[in-house]
Amino acid sequence: QQQVKQSPQSLIVQKGGISIINCAYENTAFDYFPWYQQFPGKGPALLIAIRPDVSEKKEGRFTISFNKSAKQFSLHIMDSQPGDSATYFCAASMGSNDYKLSFGAGTTVTVRA
């Protein structure tokens, strides 16, 4: 039973375009939502994370939007670059009570030059 559902499975975007990845969750006890970037043969690297007390968080070209009532959150990659081509995973955990990360299935992003 996958606790975090991620879409799309893959996407192709032109250089300079916007990549949007969506995630949805059911467990309202989740209170920490990180995004990870993974290149082939490497471990996931923490990209950006958000907690439910804010609706948006921006770090450079990466923005997380969070909708608590809809139990959805998304990653926007602005001005996408070929170096952003990777697999992106959303995840969720219950923070101080249970740090286990539940991951989405991943989205493979390809940025065309």
């Binding site: 920490y32 990180p34 690297a45 994370a49 101080s96 740090y99 286990k100 990360l101 991951f103």
Partner: protein, 111 residues
């Protein structure tokens, strides 16, 4: 500062064998978690240790076990290997548990 380190990088075993994977967390981090990532899927939680005590266990058979040492390093043991155990095994380090930093992983191939 050194990140999370894992050894070995790659490993090939045959069915029925036993394997031990090792992880050293970021200096100062007391929590280590283990995840299994099958090709094309997201990581799946196996264990979490904090201050040498098991804090969580995922839905994996008893063939999987782990421990954390006084220096906070950790090892994951898998007995009676099956073909389906072939995966990238990831170790994640955190200071208190929530923000987790992953190592490069150990690629295990079971033949």
């Amino acid at each position: 500062d050194a990140g999370v380190t894992q050894s070995p990088t790659h490993l090939i075993k045959t069915r029925g064998q036993h394997v031990t994977l090792r992880c050293s967390p970021i200096s100062g981090h007391k929590s280590v978690s283990w995840y299994q990532q099958v090709l094309g899927q997201g990581p799946q939680f196996i264990f979490q240790y904090y201050e040498k005590e098991e804090r969580g266990r995922g839905n994996f058979p008893d063939r999987f076990s782990a421990r954390q040492f006084p220096n906070y390093s950790s090892e994951l043991n898998v007995n009676a290997l099956l073909l389906g155990d072939s995966a990238l095994y990831l170790c994640a380090s955190s200071s208190r548990g929530d923000t987790q930093y992953f190592g490069p992983g150990t690629r295990l191939t079971v033949l």
